[in-house]
Symmetry: C2
């Protein structure tokens, strides 16, 4: 029975062109992950529910896709629970597995399970899809890839330095010049909260502070007051309003402001090491910018916090982020393993490269040569030629049937083929083949004895 097919909300089919572009990004990222000494792991798409549940807050628990048990799954549900018809209470009885929600929790689980086989510090990368039952909307999907690199088992700040270099290397290679790598430290945020005496309002405070560029000191102060932050606190925080100039200038201001907070001082010290080392090393195309308003996943990170912004003029949220967390694996019983990691936002990077027209031109050239098919005998000669070219790594094909010339040429055009080869009756008699240059026009004849004279230059 024929059905009109569709796919679930929030999921996507990827066409050849889209897969090629996505793989281009993955390949660049992977290449640099590897030169930086990261090793790949992969974990199962679904985990035992208890591995995931409770790790992402109540909202996360709701957004995790649960897999129904196989067989007569209702049989094991006791009568009383069944009678309640309570979905939330029922779920753990009829579902024991759930789809991966991110790559971080599975990574922590992996490290704990395989701790005896791992060389620490363990630098791992992982590029796999994750699933979230979020309401689908523009740019937000229910299935999407995450692309993470983390180091666990080292608390050296050299890792933070290297991760900034890694961002720079990847975006430079993608020709995406001018990204900003924003840097903060959780301890600086803690220090600010301590110094101004508004621990509870730290998030409101940073959200308001983040608008400084747009609404000015007056606007920011007003918003802070509206959120219940005291005038005394705002006054103490005044030096933050004046943060400007170079990273080193800003560090000096922070150092003074936070001198009474030991957390804060430690944060400034860490930030200074990272900034100074990177100033000495230099970056290729990215700009490193201290941003004390940066607070991604505040409760999660314990040290450095990173976020990458697309180049000026491209309107897009962050295209990468990460930070240091001091107790990743504690949830699975392995204490005191510090980790630091970054991730690349594939879907947004894709959109930025598309907008700026930065994908390599050849990416949609999935076929370099097509041989027109003039009939069985001619096609056999074409197939022999094509076999040789394929052995030389050239992407080529023979049109499968002796359809009308027009149809075959249309196919060549639609597949964006740069060279079309003709072996008709006459060429067969001469032991030759004709190559039409589809981009520049014109054609040339080669001998079938020496086909490499054509294809060696491709």
């Amino acid at each position: 029975m024929a059905q009109k097919p569709s796919i679930p909300k929030g999921t996507r089919d990827f066409s050849p062109s889209e897969v090629n572009k996505r793989n281009y990004i993955f390949d660049v990222v992977k290449k640099h992950f590897q030169t930086y000494g990261f090793q790949p792991i992969e974990t199962p798409s679904f985990e035992n529910s208890e591995t995931l549940m409770g790790k992402y807050g109540d909202e996360g628990d709701r957004l995790i896709f649960k897999i129904l048990n196989s067989g007569d799954y209702l049989r094991k549900v006791d009568m009383e629970l069944y009678a309640s018809k309570n979905s939330t209470a029922m779920t753990p009885k009829i579902s024991e597995k759930a789809l991966r929600y991110d790559l971080t929790v599975p990574f922590a689980r992996y490290v704990v399970m395989h701790q005896n086989d791992i060389q620490f510090p363990f630098k791992r990368y992982q590029i796999q899809p994750v699933w979230r039952a979020d309401r689908p909307q523009k740019g937000r999907f229910r299935e999407f890839f995450q692309c993470d690199a983390d180091v666990v088992g080292s608390n050296s700040l050299l890792q933070e330095v290297e991760l900034v270099q890694l961002y720079d290397a990847v975006f430079t290679d993608l020709k995406l010049d001018g990204v900003s790598i924003k840097l903060n430290n959780r301890k600086i945020l803690a220090g600010i909260a301590e110094v101004i005496g508004e621990r509870d309002k730290l998030i409101d405070f940073t959200v308001a502070l983040d608008k400084l560029d747009k609404i000015g000191i007056e606007g920011v102060s007003k918003e802070m007051r509206a959120k219940g932050i005291s005038d005394a606190a705002i006054e103490k925080a005044a030096p933050l309003f004046a943060l400007s100039g170079s990273n080193l200038d800003q560090l000096s201001v922070l150092e003074k402001l936070l001198q009474s907070s030991s957390d804060g001082k430690k944060g400034v010290e860490e930030l200074r090491f990272i900034v100074e080392t990177l100033e000495e090393m230099g970056l290729q195309s990215a700009a490193l910018k201290i941003d004390v308003t940066l607070a991604r996943g505040l409760n999660y990170y314990t040290g450095a916090i990173f976020e990458v912004a697309a180049p000026d003029g491209v309107s897009m949220g962050s295209i990468g982020g990460g930070g240091r967390y001091d107790d990743l694996t504690g949830i699975f019983g392995l204490k005191d393993v510090s980790g630091v990691g970054i991730s690349f936002g594939l879907d947004r990077i894709y959109l930025v490269l598309e907008e700026l027209n930065l994908f390599p031109e050849a990416i949609d050239r999935s076929l370099q040569v097509l041989c027109v098919n003039f009939g069985e005998k001619e096609a056999l000669s074409s197939l022999k030629l094509v076999s040789k070219m394929r052995s030389a790594g050239i992407k080529c094909d023979v049109y499968p049937s002796s359809a009308k010339m027009q149809k075959q040429m249309k196919y060549a055009n639609n597949r964006n083929v740069p060279y079309v080869i003709l072996i008709g009756e006459q060429e067969l008699a001469n032991n030759s083949f004709v190559v039409k240059d589809m981009l520049k026009g014109g054609q040339e004849t080669y001998s079938l004895e020496k086909p490499e004279e054509f294809y060696k230059s491709l």
Copy 2:
């Protein structure tokens, strides 16, 4: 609260070494898919249940993983159904999505949905995981990758020829010499059934015939009789027992046997075209073998049937298979689109390459150079050197802390690093670095001014 973590039955974590080996196979397969003009697509991990259910038989329906609806999914279940506590009847009410069971049905769905954007003949490849709630056992997993190449929209036998060449190209590139590509045709099987008058017993017949090598003509005849195949039928089938010699010899026998069956004659004709064309073209390392007992997915294929066997001496089921199906997309309402495809059995190919020690030696060399860390100042010099090498594409790292030399060297050994660089106080003073060759022993000193004298040869 610490949990002792585990993963679901039938799923696997892949270590760096395993991921690298799997990717090695994928990369070789992909390279040849591309030179043969195939283009990649990707489809969502889960589909609407109605896309998958009913496509794989009752057993398949049971083995499909279903995803529980989000929110208060029980609310919408009506009282009567709920009271029945019938899992089978409940499932469609509380689950609307299901995990991909293979790549063929999603591909058919893709072709129908995107028919207006596709250039036919459409040669697509797809390498993605699938999930089956099978009972896990040795070599059978609940999550595994499929790796398929199909051509739709062409009934030219050149496709079959090319797919055999593609198998040969991939296995040759993997250095897996001596695989057998077995070839049959559904129409020959139909012809045999017709000629011997045992349409209903065709599967029993081919299963028995397949044992000819092991149990001889007597044994095969006995088994056939036990299955209720008549003596008259067995006698008519006698020429099949004598099938031997070259492919062309076998074709002659088949031609005679099947002359009264128009289906059978057509099958022999198709087989002959494929075999003769490939004899003319030649294969690199595989052997093409007609095998009239080959009957994979009998109800599914309509023309050629392929199966690849590992080289003699390796005990392993088929490492690849495929065939032609005349109505792939009919289930979704697009009639008369013929397709032919092959797939590679990743997990088995992996085991065979492992058994025969055919993975490239360098595959576990995830780090080419490690710099020992002698302290902050020295490490900074190492990091500068490492940055240069990374820009040149070399996989290298600085040990993140100035741990004891012994610990750092142990790490280098465990990661199988061929070169260790030492930049200590003295080297820093001389502006030099020392390279220890971990494989051959010995060490050499280079200038930090000209580090490429070391790394250009890597």
